[in-house]
């Protein structure tokens, strides 16, 4: 077991399961990724995309069907979990119900044969880090969900693992606690500087925590990038949909000029930016609601007349559903002064209308 490393390499890591009718399907298909020391990686995707499978493969709780995992020059995918020494935080906390908070946190140290005096001081330090000092003699059942999750985090980090794995650690917490604990995880990561792989289906969590995001779908990596890259330049239509591009319009392609695409000049007449090579005469345009603006575009470009069909007040602004003359519904963020039934002009910047081939 190493306490530090410079690279964790996943090389075409694959995991197949027996599916219906004896057909094996790949829950995880050739995941290749290099995690640098101290890096915070989020595996992001809808349920069933293979992100938890990936985490379990790294932890050693699941055997690989193909590929290999390397910690620098040491191959580790053949080692059992107890020989890898990665700290893992589980979705349902998985605290040992019969052990006190202190015993839970000290368990990994005890398994490593650390002396009891040393265990005491390191547990105290970990408790301080997760701000649970004074709770060490309680049983997990006497703690709130948020406290239990912090015990789980303390238990994983006290062994000073080279890598920390987190499997949707916040999904059982309520909204307020989730944001607090998220900040806590970020702070702990900054203080310890340990590489972390974090699985989530929540794009906000991934954007706020990660140094790099790995977006997955059906066991296949869709995009690997920094949060701003994934947020504003989705690699494909799936990533765009997942990252909140709620307007996806299927339109005819008129012509392409460089990476500019002129679409459906007969109908709404949109100019967009191509993100992937197009195929066929039709394409999909993906636009975020907050990147459609109420008002005229420059020189009337990409400006559409529409009627407000639905208004959802959300405080700072409203989420509007507007219907164009051709009957297309657009989701738009607009000022709270706009009312149901108003006639509006909306526009979208050319570089924020992203054009992808249809899937």
């Amino acid at each position: 077991m190493k306490n530090d490393f410079s690279d964790l390499k996943l090389d075409r890591v694959t995991r197949r399961f027996a599916g219906a009718g004896g057909h094996a399907f790949a829950a995880l298909n050739e995941l290749t990724l290099t995690v640098k020391r101290g890096e915070f990686i989020c595996l992001l995707g809808p349920s069933g995309c293979g992100k938890s499978t990936a985490l379990n493969c790294i932890a050693g709780l699941m055997q690989l069907s193909g590929g290999s995992i390397w910690l620098d020059d040491q191959r580790i995918d053949t080692l059992p979990p107890e020989k890898r020494g990665f700290g893992m935080v589980f979705q349902n906390y998985a605290l040992f119900p019969h052990m006190t908070v202190a015993k839970n946190i000290g368990f990994g140290l005890k398994m490593r044969g650390v002396g009891s005096a040393d265990i005491g001081s390191r547990v105290a330090h970990a408790l301080k880090l997760v701000q649970l000092t004074g709770q060490e003699h309680k049983l997990p059942g006497q703690l709130s969900g948020g406290q239990q999750q912090r015990v789980a985090i303390a238990r994983a980090i006290v062994i000073e693992p080279p890598l920390i794995l987190m499997d949707e650690p916040l999904s059982n917490l309520d909204a307020k606690l989730r944001i607090e604990t998220r900040a806590e995880i970020r702070r702990i990561h900054r203080e310890l500087g340990r590489a972390t792989i974090y699985v989530t289906h929540d794009q906000d969590e991934a954007l706020s925590l990660a140094d790099r995001i790995v977006v997955m779908k059906d066991g296949v990596v869709q995009q690997i990038g920094t949060p701003p890259e994934v947020y504003s330049q989705p690699a494909n239509l799936h990533v765009a949909r997942f990252m909140g591009y709620r307007n996806v319009l299927e339109l005819g392609v008129e012509r392409e000029e460089g990476d500019r695409v002129i679409l459906d000049s007969a109908g709404m007449g949109l100019v967009g930016t191509r993100k992937q090579p197009l195929k066929g005469a039709r394409a999909a345009v993906a636009i975020r609601p907050e990147e459609i603006y109420v008002g005229e575009g420059q020189g009337g470009l990409n400006t559409i007349s529409a009627t407000v069909d639905n208004v959802e007040y959300s405080g700072r602004d409203s989420l509007l559903d507007v219907v164009t003359s051709s009957g297309t519904v657009l989701h738009v963020r607009g000022p709270v002064t706009i009312k149901l039934g108003d006639a509006v002009r909306v526009h979208v910047p050319v570089d924020r209308a992203l054009v992808y081939p249809l899937d």
């Binding site: 050693g60 906390y93 398994m111």
Partner: protein
């Protein structure tokens, strides 16, 4: 505001409580009354003072040793049953192709009555049974084989009939323990042996104690197999046989009641001791957080 709202409202009669009546009546008629009847009866001996039945039991050479005879059968049988059921149930905790088959085979004897088991054992383990014939035919063992009509026969039959019971009970306790706890322990460096010792065993301890008590009580009241497979006059003269003889051979119901009371008291002591030990261990939910 009315005054009636200030005082605590009197709980209205809940008609659902009536559902308790049949069971309570049944317990009263079929358990409590006969038990108290027997208890009173045991203090009304045919002759002598009110304690003379008990005095008789503890001074008669073919009565008081039956306590030890029964304990010497029931305790090892219980230990064997619980001791073997635990590792097998632990192995069977994960769903596998074999799990259902192994479980079925192990559980079948529970459907057989003690008399049927005794019959089968007499044909199989007897001096001229299949086992003896097989061993002698292949010259594996040529000495005489005495596995029935003695202590061993009764012990084997107690294991055959008691094991499935202990196994099923422990299996249900083990499968109730969230397997993610063992996975969490493994990521913290616990090998399978440590996972069993530090996670499964402490969480199972209360269940094991309970299982031990139930299996022990069952074994302690051994009667048919002690008669059919043992030597009821000698080494397997268990306490229930003594009670039977008092009641149905000497027609001394009062003495029989006293023996039954002593039998119950011995069981109570063992059960209380084991359950008392149970309090030492953690008792509570066996999952590691929110589902």
């Amino acid at each position: 505001m009315t005054t009636s709202n200030d005082s605590a409202p009197r709980a209205a009669f809940d008609p659902a409580l009536l559902l308790v009546v049949p069971a309570a009546a049944f317990m009263l008629l079929v358990f409590v009354y006969p038990f108290l009847n027997g208890l009173v009866d045991s203090f009304q001996p045919k002759e002598g003072g009110w304690l003379s039945n008990y005095a008789h039991f503890f001074t008669t050479d073919n009565l008081w040793p039956t306590i030890w005879t029964t304990l010497k059968l029931a305790l090892p049988a219980t230990l064997i049953n619980v001791g073997f059921a635990l590792p097998i149930a632990y192995k069977m905790r994960v769903k596998s192709r074999y799990q259902r088959w192994v479980t079925t085979i192990l559980v079948v004897p529970i459907t057989l009555g003690t008399v049927l088991i005794a019959e089968g054992m007499l044909t199989y383990f007897g001096p001229r049974g299949w086992l003896a014939q097989f061993l002698q035919f292949f010259h594996i063992y040529n000495g005489s084989i005495r596995l029935t009509h003695n202590y061993t026969g009764v012990l084997i039959s107690l294991v055959i009939s008691g094991f499935p019971f202990a196994f099923l009970l422990i299996l249900s306790y083990i499968t109730g323990i969230d397997p993610v706890l063992a996975r969490a322990a493994s990521t913290l460096g616990a090998d399978p042996k440590s996972q069993f010792r530090h996670i499964y065993l402490p969480l199972l301890a209360p269940g094991l104690a309970m299982c031990f008590c139930l299996a022990f009580v069952q074994a302690f009241s051994v009667f048919p197999s002690a008669v059919l497979l043992g030597s009821p006059a000698g080494p397997t003269r268990v306490i229930s046989i003594a009670a039977y003889e008092a009641a149905f051979e000497q027609y001394d119901y009062s003495l029989a009641s006293a023996i039954a009371m002593i039998m119950g008291f011995v069981q109570l002591i063992i059960v209380a001791a084991v359950l008392g030990l149970r309090n030492v261990f953690y008792r509570g939910p066996v999952s590691g957080g929110k589902g």
